[in-house]
Amino acid sequence: MMANPVLDLRDLNKSFGALTATNNLSLTVMPGEIHALIGPNGAGKTTLIQQIYGALKPDSGQIFLNGRDLTGLSVPERIRAGIGRSFQISNVLMDFTVLENGIIAEQARLGQSFRFLRPAFSDANLIEGASAILDRVGLLDRAHLPVGGLAHGDRRMLELALALAASPSLLLLDEPMAGAGPDEGQRMTEIIEALRGTVAILLIEHDMDAVFRLADRLTVLVEGSVIAAGTVAEISQNKVVKSAYLGDED
């Protein structure tokens, strides 16, 4: 028996003027799987993530998360419905320390952000929750560093930690390895690997070593259309993919 998909995209379309960014796209992400989305630059990968996330509105089609129709919901509503996201360019709170980032995420998770009296950054409960968030990506020992002074790879880790903070059922990772050095990329791969089975992940990544190691399934996107989908083994043998992605046309 097939389990119900966590994410179910049905016939999504999105164009900007004459430019078709998403073309009749359907895709599912099953519970606990890592589903990688690959394709050349400009294929519409980030545009697709933006539609799932709610920052862009599809022209037509539907988006279901755990069977619930997300179409029409705002970004914060979708987050509360169970989506977590890391961005292509590090999107963390630069003017705060690592721990403070965690505390702000923790109080948001608890729904306590609208309280006016007690100081937040010295609250023992929040510090405890934030520490747990940071511990998952191994940043606890750098908790008191300002984010501005953090190495690039650590910022990517923090970004992932914040995306995970609210225990989402679907994690959207937009090029988590981008700009990371080899060691950092390795660390990130291991951390994502460790998440397998605990949360469904939709991953955009250019580092093919990482994709081949992480992905349970792959979807190849070219000019907004799915040109192939399947397991790593299937895709790496696929001629169409090779010509479209590598561009070995004759």
Binding site: A18, N41, M208
Partner: protein
């Protein structure tokens, strides 16, 4: 035409290029290859003066004066076809072309002007009154190439000019570049399409993590075992 000597560059504190050297001789087509994030576009942006050079030297047409502004560099004779095309969405096709016309530097080379660009890309002639944001991806790419040609560049730089396009459009672009080469146009090109670029370019550089890890001619590129898989493959 263009010589880079051990250049270093990057964004703010993050260094991307760690000593890149390459040359584009007159009349040659040179390629720059590598996976995403290896520093190809950063190299182009540094050549154009859009990113500061932190070490090394760039000589453009024998002019090695540092700290030139992008518009001065463009006027030396570099025509840029940028990544993502960057068409002016609020200008129509004609304006996207005519606004940037500059006469050729010397009478030796060919002279590009509005009519000639439209001859090269008949699709653009059909859509000359359309605004930039009402063009398809392929048309935008043609417009970006035409726009760079309108500056009558001594060196044309193309950053991923075939990325994300339908195969038939790509073939058109490659044919067009081959025609330009036949006219003696110097070109520096970034692309991922190994076979097509091996046919077009005379010399190739492969970038990995901000360094040139290999360079050689097309024969060597195709002959070297495992090169494409290691640095360029999926």
């Amino acid at each position: 035409m263009l010589h880079l000597h051990d250049i270093e560059s990057g964004y703010g504190a993050g260094q991307v290029l760690f000593g890149v050297s390459l040359s584009v001789p007159a009349g040659h087509v040179v390629s720059l290859m590598g996976r995403n994030g290896m520093g190809k576009t950063t190299t182009i942006r540094t050549i154009m003066g859009q990113l500061p050079l932190t070490a090394g030297r760039i000589s453009r047409f024998g002019n090695a004066q540092p700290d030139q502004l992008p518009f001065q560099i463009a006027r030396l004779g570099i025509g840029l076809v940028p990544e993502g095309r960057q068409i002016f969405s609020n200008l129509d096709v004609t304006e996207n072309l005519k606004t940037f016309y500059r006469p050729p530097h010397d009478d030796g080379g060919s002279h590009w002007h509005y009519e000639r660009v439209l001859d090269l890309f008949p699709r653009l002639a059909e859509r000359r009154d359309h605004a930039g944001n009402h063009l398809s991806g392929g048309e935008q790419q043609m417009l970006a190439i035409g726009r760079a040609l309108m500056t009558n560049p001594k060196l044309l730089i193309l950053d991923e000019a075939t990325e994300g396009l339908a195969p038939i459009i790509r073939t058109q672009i490659w044919d067009c570049l081959a025609a330009l080469k036949a006219e003696g146009q110097s070109i520096l090109i970034i692309d991922k399409n190994v076979k097509a670029i091996a046919r077009l370019a005379d010399h190739h550089y492969i970038l990995n993590k901000g360094r040139v890890v290999w360079n050689g001619d097309s024969e060597a590129l195709l002959a070297t075992e495992g090169l494409t898989a290691r640095y360029l493959g999926v």
